[in-house]
């Protein structure tokens, strides 16, 4: 019975979401588009960070590449948006393949920081490229159609979620989970770890790049600082972790919840929203390191003991 209600609520939400722009005020549509894009990023991070266990701190690099690929195609070569965004996606996949091969050999801290350094280095490279408008950035052709961008973002999030759903129940996904739990054991069991990790990285890169492309066209402007923004990494990671990394719906719930709260806070002081994110990270890591999905599952049987258990498990 409870299950039926949950499914009903879920399918009702899925049906309602595309209709939102026809009833909502413009401000809400814009907030919705931002939230859907960041949720897509969180979901893409979920593939490499949540399922494969490779905590990338540099996924914003794909977002930036996607945005720049789209912008360069549209501004410098007068190509239509559809071609541009695919070009951005292809560039990100290529980047993930070429740099993933060496970087994915690193584990733990080393992988995290190497990806962070890649994002920093990429911002430096792009701000020296003439074709990308150097430090100043590029201005894309104006297209004032908030509804279109909302629907595009929604479609993107749906695509990302479907891919993650497929991963959660496919042979490929089980291979990724095996890598997360014990990479050496997975290799011994016959998982081609290099191939699986690279594919996961490329998938995450592709989806992040599409989000970057949509965002660049929507905002009609791109520059190195905003395109390779490090705080974007914080947001996507914490949203995925807060909701539940390695689950299908966790990152979505985390993204919508945190984005809504930070939107309310940002109307007061913009720095408050970032401050809030930092505090959520600290509190979540201490009390619910496996996210809302795990909390929902185990809180019923454990009650408030759930938080004590988490503390007891990890403290010195």
């Amino acid at each position: 019975m409870k299950r039926a209600i949950a499914w009903l609520a879920l399918s009702a939400t899925v049906v309602m979401l595309p209709l939102v722009p026809w009833i909502a005020p413009p401000a809400l549509i814009q907030f919705g588009t931002t939230t859907l894009l960041i949720a897509t990023l969180a979901q893409a991070w979920n593939i490499i960070g949540g399922y494969t266990g490779y905590a990338s701190f540099g996924n914003s690099v794909f977002y930036g590449i996607g945005g720049y690929g789209t912008a360069i195609a549209m501004v410098q070569f007068d190509l239509p948006f559809g071609v541009g965004i695919l070009l951005g996606g292809a560039l990100a996949v290529l980047f993930a393949l070429l740099l993933g091969l060496p970087v994915l050999r690193l584990r733990g801290h080393y992988f995290a920081i190497a990806t962070l350094a890649l994002a920093e280095a990429m911002a430096g490279v792009v701000s020296n490229l003439d074709i990308a408008g150097r430090n100043i950035g590029l201005i894309l052709p104006l297209r004032k159609d908030d509804v279109l961008f909302y629907e595009l973002s929604l479609a993107l999030l749906a695509l990302a979620t479907l891919i993650v759903y497929w991963i959660s129940r496919s042979r490929f996904g089980f291979g990724l989970i095996a890598i997360r739990e014990d990479e050496d054991a997975a290799a011994v069991m016959g998982v081609n770890t290099t191939l699986f990790k690279s594919l996961a990285f490329m998938l995450a890169g592709f989806l992040s790049a599409l989000a970057g492309g949509v965002h660049a066209y929507w905002i009609t402007f791109i520059d190195p600082v905003s395109a390779f923004d490090i705080t974007l990494n914080v947001m996507m990671i914490i949203m995925a972790i807060f909701g539940g990394a390695g689950t299908v719906l966790g990152p979505l719930v985390g993204a919508v919840l945190l984005a809504s709260i930070s939107e309310v806070l940002a109307t007061e002081i913009s720095a408050m929203a970032s401050l809030f994110f930092g505090l959520v990270i600290v509190v979540a890591v201490i009390f619910m390191p496996r996210g809302l999905a795990d909390l929902a599952r185990r809180f019923r049987s454990l009650g408030w003991r759930y938080f004590r258990e988490n503390l007891r498990l990890h403290r010195l």
Binding site: L106, N128, S274, L279
Partner: protein, 287 residues
């Protein structure tokens, strides 16, 4: 030729400060297995302590060094003792994430309290310099360099020669055995993290003398400290000095021969290359 020497000298002076910055990060990483992503934010806090001591109390930044270190030590000790100790046994990703959280909180608290304006610590002798073998050396940079090296040496002596240092090294090598010998790891972890923060505070004080500060200087400094720790390896504080000098000279040479906009590309590129080729550090042992 004299231009080349000047560039090398600039790089060495910069590198000494880099070494001090990285030392605290490498110490905490080596002993506690925590990569403190808030390390740069600690440096930023140290710089603001120096700035306010200078502007409000007219305290010379070099005289303020012990105060910067003491305040950051207390801060770091409490943070580890009462917060980080709660999750020290969690998977590595969680500790990385929580320090990321600290970094964000500190940066934006600093933005709200100190404002985002650029600040400078400008003592009367800030413009003084002297010439040696045709190379111009700014006085404050030489002083900062000497301080940085002295502190690095002091930390090395503390770790190698004192009972506290032995306890710290024991915890790094084998936590269980250290416990059996009566070392309380909660205190030792607190002391180690406090010492790491104190070094960040010292680095921040010196950074404020040689450069402008704002709340956002932390993140690139964390990344550089990390790069230096990787290049130098974690076993030995002297490795950090080599790593710091290497990065300092590399950045100076890059800004002359390639262009100053490429310094970050080169330093992070080198970091990625070193990580891929020798994850245990250029000077680390091959196991």
């Amino acid at each position: 030729m004299s231009l080349f020497l000047q560039i090398i000298a600039n790089g060495i002076l910069l590198g000494g400060l880099y070494a001090l910055m990285a030392l605290g990060l490498a110490l905490v990483w080596g002993v506690l297995n925590i990569v403190n992503l808030a390390h740069g934010a600690f440096i930023m806090l140290g710089a603001y302590v120096a700035f306010y001591l200078f502007t409000l109390l007219h305290l010379d930044p070099f005289a303020a060094l012990p105060l910067c270190m003491a305040s950051l030590f207390v801060f770091g000790y409490c943070l580890q003792r009462y917060v980080l100790n709660l999750i020290v046994r969690a998977p590595m990703f969680n500790t990385l994430l929580i320090t990321f959280g600290f970094d964000v909180v500190l940066t934006y608290l600093a933005q709200i309290t100190f404002s985002a304006d650029f600040r400078v610590v400008n003592p009367s002798y800030a413009g003084a310099n002297f010439t040696l073998f045709g190379v111009t050396l700014p006085l404050v940079r030489v002083l900062a360099f000497a301080m940085a090296l002295a502190l690095t040496l002091a930390v090395w002596l503390i770790l190698a020669r004192t009972p506290v240092g032995r306890a710290v090294r024991a915890c790094a090598q084998n936590l269980l055995a250290a416990r059996l010998y009566g070392v309380d790891p909660r205190t030792v972890y607190g002391l180690t993290f406090g010492l790491g923060a104190a070094l960040a505070g010292a680095a921040g004080d010196l950074y404020a003398v040689v450069s402008q500060i704002n709340p956002y200087i932390g993140d690139p400094l964390t990344a550089k400290s990390f790069a230096i720790s990787i290049i130098g390896g974690l076993e030995n504080p002297l490795g950090v000095v080599v790593g710091g000098l290497f990065l300092g000279i590399l950045e100076s040479l890059t800004s002359l021969y390639v262009g100053s906009t490429y310094t970050d590309v080169v330093s992070f590129g080198v970091l990625v290359l070193v990580l891929i080729a020798r994850p245990q550090g250029l000077l680390g042992k091959t196991t």
